[in-house]
């Protein structure tokens, strides 16, 4: 478990540093700030917190909720602890979907172009396998050139087999074949990779709906999880994406990728606040085991401790 913490921490270090840099004012306003226990200078004004949160892509509505909570809670504790508490409460309001025990459990991966869907499928397959599940991957991105080949490489690394089709084939038909195969081979989990689609493209969103219908015909209740892959660098459009993919694609969770950069993925807080969508996994690096289950406590702790 210690390696888990250190990886999350390492991945989030930059993110945390960003927020902390803002919250701990080392700049020209140093005179106004007061030293705290750790010797760092904490932000003294709410407007600095507002800048820090807005600068982290948390967005105005969620930022205002956090500010209000911090204001009304008042009094004791460092400002940043109170901010952390409220962020934790935001995440607590968005619980993950329960596993009802259906096998094969179908996990559908969706999102706009370039967020890291294919990579996440590869890493998820590896993670599920490590957890002792038998996995089958369905390569339903028949649009992007070489997407299937990319996934095949990941599948080989994770030692999981792939159901694939010709480039340009109807994705729903591949999904159908994969659902039949997952049942026949008695797999625990069927992971479906889909083509990147902008949520504004009605025809592509309809295609997603068709995939859902086809898989639910083969496996009752499927897809059990529909995970929207969000790039941590995404801004407020992430909220729009989540809303659209939720209403058309039945998304019930998020994968937040590329947290190893300087981006903060703060829009996930806004999404949890507004849409009650939980973050299920986070991507913290390029290696195959750099996708880990999300834990709100660790996330906030990683954001707000000085341990590293």
């Amino acid at each position: 478990m210690s390696s888990f913490f250190s990886r999350v921490r390492a991945g989030l270090a930059k993110t945390a540093a960003q927020i902390r840099d803002r919250l701990t004012d080392r700049g020209d306003r140093a005179a106004e700030s007061t030293p705290d226990a750790g010797g760092a200078r904490t932000a003294t004004s709410l407007s600095e917190i507002e800048d820090a949160l807005v600068g982290a892509d948390v967005g105005l509505p969620a930022t205002e909720r956090i500010l209000l909570a911090v204001k009304t809670a008042g009094g004791t504790g460092a400002l940043r602890d109170r901010v952390g508490d409220e962020i934790r409460r935001v995440f607590a309001g968005a619980p993950p979907p329960l596993d009802n025990g259906t096998r094969p459990r179908v996990v559908l991966i969706v999102g706009v172009n370039g967020t890291g869907k294919t990579t996440s499928v590869g890493k998820l397959a590896n993670l599920f396998k490590q957890q002792g599940h038998s996995v089958l991957i369905c390569a339903a991105d028949t649009f992007r050139a070489a997407a299937v080949e990319q996934l095949a490489v990941w599948a080989e690394r994770a030692d999981v087999d792939v159901i694939r089709a010709q480039h340009g084939a109807d994705p729903a038909s591949v999904v159908h074949d994969a659902a039949v195969a997952a049942k026949a081979r008695q797999r625990d989990i069927l992971l479906i990779d889909t083509a990147g689609r902008l949520h504004t493209r009605a025809n592509l969103m309809a295609e997603l709906d068709k995939i859902r219908r086809v898989v639910s015909r083969e496996i009752p209740g499927a897809p059990h999880e529909v995970l929207l892959v969000l790039d941590a660098t995404v801004g407020q459009n992430g909220l729009v994406q989540a809303r659209e993919f939720m209403s058309v694609g039945g998304v019930n969770g998020l994968i937040l990728t590329k947290l190893d950069g300087t981006a903060k993925g703060g829009v996930a807080v806004a999404i949890a606040h507004e849409l009650k969508l939980p973050i299920r996994f986070i991507g913290v690096g390029e290696a195959i085991d750099d996708l880990v289950p999300f834990d709100a406590d660790d996330y906030v702790k990683a954001l707000f401790t000085d341990q590293w």
């Binding site: 892509d57 080949e149 990941w154 801004g235 459009n237 950069g261």
Partner: protein, 450 residues
């Protein structure tokens, strides 16, 4: 992409329009809305502060307050300030300083480098250039193959040294090939990397030394949030970026990243990617983008697209029809085909002034069926040439026959005829307005809202 931002600003100024005089209080209310809108649009929060301050300074100016149309004055100020931010630099590529021109593509993972490389190669080909592309992305599985497939689709030469997995060697080899085989442009695609990944940034520097690029294009996702400034700034600091390509602008991201990167990093935007098709790449034009931000539509792009899609023959045919009295169902069909070639309907509609801001229309976009156009075409194809030239002869039994022939219902045929008659009427009105010399220009000016 900026629909929502223009909606908000339109809302602000609609309320301002009601005021006979601008007071400081109304300006402040408007500025608050502008600030919210810009933040929601992911414009960097520091840029927003500076921007709002500049607008306030100018808006509170007495001349503006006393003018009869203060609302429009504020729109003007916002527009001018945004334009000032983008500077005077035109989009596209500056003329090459030497041959072969070497373009290095760089950026974060998933921003769209490989797709843009292919689109750019196609764009250059259309400009009469002879590009060679090479992938140096040995990290992402199948990235090299992705570029090869795209290049083959576009009949663009790609340098594929089999088994060579050293990015620098691949790039250097491509440059040698370009020099020896007379390619005038080399585009080097690179692996996506984080600006804080020292090892990979060093690799990028090594590629740069090997090919000595004339252009370094930073590919940025229009959906990027506050991080845009940081990552673009760091790439610029280390690599001296010459231009930005803003991708995925066909979504509804408000693209504050564009404003921020230009405002903070100071690198001009060269191209804008606006769709998944290879032809969906256009040189950036600040005027157009700002007009779109402010809800004035993007008429220039629309006209250009129409002209690019309309083949010479149908254009000549349209030019002949001076008064539009002889506008027939055949011409109607030509028009539909042109519209189809212009690209996805929702994209085209978004460019029409006022349309982008209509919420109603946004909802309709979802229901819009591209097959509708095919059906209309099938109906017209099922008519005899005589019927197409003179729609007046289409009585009930002819309509029934056409419906059977095109696999539609009589109601559908009736609807098409009604649309045709309406369009003809509209064209006649426009024809009357634009008759005489310079009529076409007048029409264009009208569309541009001048």
């Amino acid at each position: 992409m900026f629909d929502s931002l223009s909606n908000r600003l339109q809302g602000v100024f609609k309320s301002l329009r009601g005021e006979t005089r601008l007071t400081e209080a109304t300006v402040d209310a408007a500025l608050r809305e502008i600030r919210l809108a810009l933040l929601e649009a992911d414009v960097n929060f520091r840029v927003v502060k500076a921007f709002v301050d500049r607008v306030r300074e100018k808006a509170i100016d007495q001349e503006v307050l006393r003018s009869l149309t203060p609302g429009q004055q504020v729109v003007r100020i916002v527009r001018d300030e945004m334009l000032a931010m983008f500077g005077t630099a035109a989009g596209g590529l500056t003329p090459a300083s030497r041959t072969p021109r070497v373009i290095l593509m760089l950026g974060l993972q998933g921003s769209g480098k490989t797709t843009t490389t292919a689109k750019l190669a196609r764009w250059l080909t259309k400009q009469g250039k002879h590009p060679l592309v090479v992938s140096t992305d040995v990290r992402r599985p199948a990235a090299i193959e992705q570029l090869s497939v795209l290049a083959r689709q576009l009949s663009v030469r790609v340098h594929e040294p089999a088994g060579e997995m050293d990015p620098v060697t691949r790039a250097a080899g491509a440059l040698a090939l370009a020099k020896n085989s007379g390619f005038d442009t080399l585009i080097v695609d690179t692996a996506g990397r984080l600006h804080i990944d020292d090892e990979l940034m060093q690799e990028l520097a090594a590629i740069r030394s090997a090919v000595d690029p004339t252009d370094l294009l930073y590919v940025a996702d229009a959906m990027t949030g506050q991080d845009a400034v940081k990552s673009a700034g760091e790439f610029h600091r280390q690599m001296t970026v010459t231009g930005v390509v803003l991708t995925k602008t066909d979504g509804d991201a408000r693209g504050g990243a564009a404003l921020s990167v230009v405002g903070v990093v100071g690198v001009p935007i060269a191209f804008v990617g606006s769709g998944e098709r290879p032809e969906d790449l256009e040189p950036f034009q600040a005027e157009r983008l700002v007009s779109r931000v402010l809800g004035m539509g993007d008429v220039l792009s629309l006209i250009e697209r129409a002209e690019a899609a309309m083949d010479d023959e149908s254009r000549a045919k349209m030019a002949e029809k001076k008064d539009f009295n002889d506008f027939s169902l055949e011409d109607f069909r030509d028009q539909l085909r042109t519209i189809k070639k212009m690209g996805p309907l929702e994209q085209v509609l978004g460019m029409i002034p006022g349309m982008g801001g209509l919420k109603q229309l946004n909802e309709q976009r979802a229901n819009m069926d591209p097959k509708q156009l095919d059906r209309v075409e099938a109906i017209i194809n099922s008519m005899t040439p005589g019927e197409r030239r003179n729609h007046a002869v289409l009585n009930g039994s002819r309509r029934k026959r056409i419906a059977r022939g095109s696999g539609t219902k009589v109601e559908d045929v009736n609807r098409v005829l009604k649309q045709f008659v309406e369009m003809r009427k509209m064209l006649k009105t426009m024809g009357a307005m634009t008759s005489g010399r310079g009529g076409r220009q007048k029409l264009m000016q009208m569309l541009r809202g001048r």
